[in-house]
Symmetry: D2
């Protein structure tokens, strides 16, 4: 994660883009990229989407993570720790003995 | 990134959830979580959202990354490498000497 | 359409909400409601979603149209005419003799 | 509303597209179009977006309504009545004497 952060933020800072990055628009960007990812699956099964558009799927996933890293930097949060904290919280909500049950 | 992947996939596998995870629904999940993140900014400035909802913002960001990692695992792609590849591609699209220009 | 507009805008104006309704946040609202609609289909087939959540599906669809009408009012556009114009444009893009072909 | 429905469904049926229209993908389409609408507001104020992109904003709004009408047809629901029902429900949730309060 550290190397992703370094490279993403270096890319941003070489272009002096941080000044434009307010958190609300970064959240909008994440939704837009998530929908560009989803567009690959429209009118298709998962299998069709992967056969026809795997390269674009990968790029949209990268875009989402790039924006997440930039939003985390603006908010001064550690994305890795947030994931670990969320997994602890989810483990309480979905204890292991309910395994096999459909995730919401 | 490796530790995030290990913990996210361990969480999933302890609950035997991989069987439900088709790629199309994971892409839907990412869009839903992105909109739950965005909901914190509705009718608010960035500043208001951060003051009133920083904890939820952090959790929704974690959820997005958790689903990204699970989708990457299903697709057998290396999310870290995808980000590096995308940055190379973006660097061609947005060369440094155009710095200061508004990002799309 | 006229009666929908009258009732939606009367509802808004009785509560004096127009003052809060900037176009950017209304566009965010439409995306949020669209994702609440989509949430009913997550991890489900269309058939399962309809059996289990038809009432919620209907309500989320109503919410989207309610926000569309409010955004149209703010922009001073006639939503009905916009649909007719778009159908003309789409008819050029997808002429009838290509019928049966999969829509993008 | 009736004329919108007639023209949208005639457009669809002339192209024999109903066969492809499952409800889950129509819900995905609405989210995608909502994000194409939202894209016009990314990195911009409402005012900037309207000056620079009003035509596209109008077209994306039309696309959302076109998909809503098609989903309503598949579900055999009356979109107009759904809006009226939802307004009744919202009126209970937000009584007029709480007017001036910020909508969620």
């Amino acid at each position: 994660m550290k190397e992703i952060q370094q490279r993403v933020l270096a890319f941003r800072d070489e272009r002096d883009w941080k000044q434009y990055h307010n958190e609300k628009d970064l959240a909008i960007s994440i939704s837009l990229e998530a929908n560009e990812l989803l567009e690959n699956f429209q009118w298709r099964t998962s299998e069709e989407a992967i056969v026809e558009s795997k390269q674009n799927i990968k790029e949209e996933m990268a875009d989402i993570l790039i924006y997440l890293v930039q939003l985390a930097d603006k908010l001064e949060i550690n994305l890795e720790e947030e994931v670990f904290d969320k997994l602890v919280k989810n483990a309480i909500k979905y204890p292991v003995n309910r395994s096999g049950e459909k995730v919401k």
